[in-house]
Amino acid sequence: MLPARKLSPAGATAERLLWTLASLTTLVALWSLAAMISDSRHLPGPMKVLEVLGQESASGALWSNMSITLVRVACAFFLAMLIGTMIGIAIGSYKRADQFFDSWLVLFLNLPALVIIALSYVWLGTTELTAIMAVAINKIPNVAVQMREGARQLSRDLSEMAKLYNFGPWKTLRHVTLPQLAPFAAAAARSGLALVWKIVLVVEALGGHATGVGHQIHAAFGNYDVPTILAYALAFIVVIQIVEFGILQPLQARVMRWRR
């Protein structure tokens, strides 16, 4: 449980890279093995999927679909994180607000994605904004619930200190509250990015956007075309893996630097 000796930043990055590569290699090896053993078209091996990926990439379909979906994911994600965090902090900090809005949160949290998507499309029409809104509305209660838990754990010692030293609301938020919420935000962001992506897939399928990874995956699902499904899923996962390795992990290391 006690962390090992710390490395220099460069050494640490190299080490992380090494581990990530080893990990991915093992994963691909296991996958190949499973595909070989099962020998079924419902579990294509990595080569088969890579081939499809190559075709889709060559035809340009991969890039256009990916970029559209990524923009939607990014917009919905930031919107949901922002609003969800604000709601979460507010209701986590004020007991009255929590008691009052808890039922609302339960309601919106458990409203099936289908309901939200269907109503959004009927009310707002098939626009880019609708897609983003529908996804964000699905995700906001989720973020709020997680951040609320964090807000409930805020240190009273530090709040009192901030009050006595006249930090004011903005400084308190930035230097006292948010650092304490960081682990909850990290959890919400990681699980949230995945959730947003999954809802975008559903929205793209139901909302009838002719483009986007969700559209492709659903079309492929209709044909039970597993290699294509996996190819598109994988393309997105690679993007997330890059974000994870290049942004989230270094950021997290920086943010947690103060811990002994």
Binding site: E160, K163, Y165, N166, F167, H175, P179, R257, W258, R259
Partner: protein, 244 residues
């Protein structure tokens, strides 16, 4: 506190509710006194008698009590040096000090000087958890001192420090107190420290604490540096009504 009104403290009753197997307990009962401007009141009393609770009430952090507090001015600048350091662990020591002052406040220029004064020059860019407990306490002291407050509340500020360091910091406190009109309420278990620093010593009794004794310290500033005079005064104050 330029106006010169005294701080009036009237706590009729402070009770903590029963939670988790412990009974409801009344910690303070009829603790009322006034502190004149520039007075240096030392609060002592057995561990758990309610000293920190009282300071929390004075500071306005605890409002769930019967009684009232009149700080003597509308918005006096008040600083509380807590019993634990309460530094932001995710900010370096220097950042902690800078943050305790409004951005661009001229007092921010004194931050480095005070860090030197409390002996943290080398560790000023360290995160609190990567320093020793004594260093964290000194950082918290520096953060309080730099405020130049009208009312200064201090809860056992000099424990966990070696004698020479503690002595240096006491001198720093006296300097600050002399240079600006500051009303001080100071909690300590160290009787010598109490007599050396205080102009008045308030002793709280254990169990539903009320005021057990309230004595002025009859020593001149020069007397306070003389060990035997301090000892004699200590005897007079503390041994007239024996503790426990």
């Amino acid at each position: 506190m330029a106006s010169g009104n005294p701080v009036r403290i009237r706590v009729k009753r402070k009770t903590f509710p029963a939670i988790g197997g412990r009974d409801e307990n009344t910690v303070l009962r009829d603790v009322s006194f006034e502190v004149s401007p520039r007075e240096f009141v030392v609060l002592t009393g057995p561990s758990g008698c309610g000293k920190s609770t009282l300071l929390n009430i004075v500071a306005g952090l605890d409002t769930d009590y019967e009684g009232d507090i009149d700080l003597g001015a509308a918005h006096p600048r008040m600083t509380f040096i807590f019993q634990t350091p309460r530094l932001l662990p995710w900010r370096t020591i220097r950042e902690n000090l800078m943050l305790s002052l409004p951005d661009g406040d001229p007092r921010q220029n004194n931050v480095d000087a005070i860090i030197d004064r409390v002996g943290l020059t080398e560790a000023k860019n360290a995160y609190p958890e990567r320093t020793s407990l004594g260093m964290q306490r000194r950082a918290a002291l520096a953060r309080g001192f730099i405020q130049e407050p009208d009312i200064l509340l201090m809860d056992e500020p000099f424990v966990s420090l070696d004698d020479p360091t503690a002595q240096g910091l006491r001198e720093l406190l006296v300097d600050l107190w002399n240079s600006r009109p500051t009303t001080v309420m100071f909690v300590t278990h160290d009787r010598t420290e109490a007599v050396m620093l205080g102009t008045r010593i308030l002793r709280l009794a254990a169990g539903s604490a009320s005021i057990k004794a309230d004595e002025s310290v009859r020593l001149s500033p020069s007397d306070r540096t003389q060990r035997d005079k301090v000892q004699a005064e200590l005897k007079r104050i503390f041994e007239s009504t024996p503790e426990t």
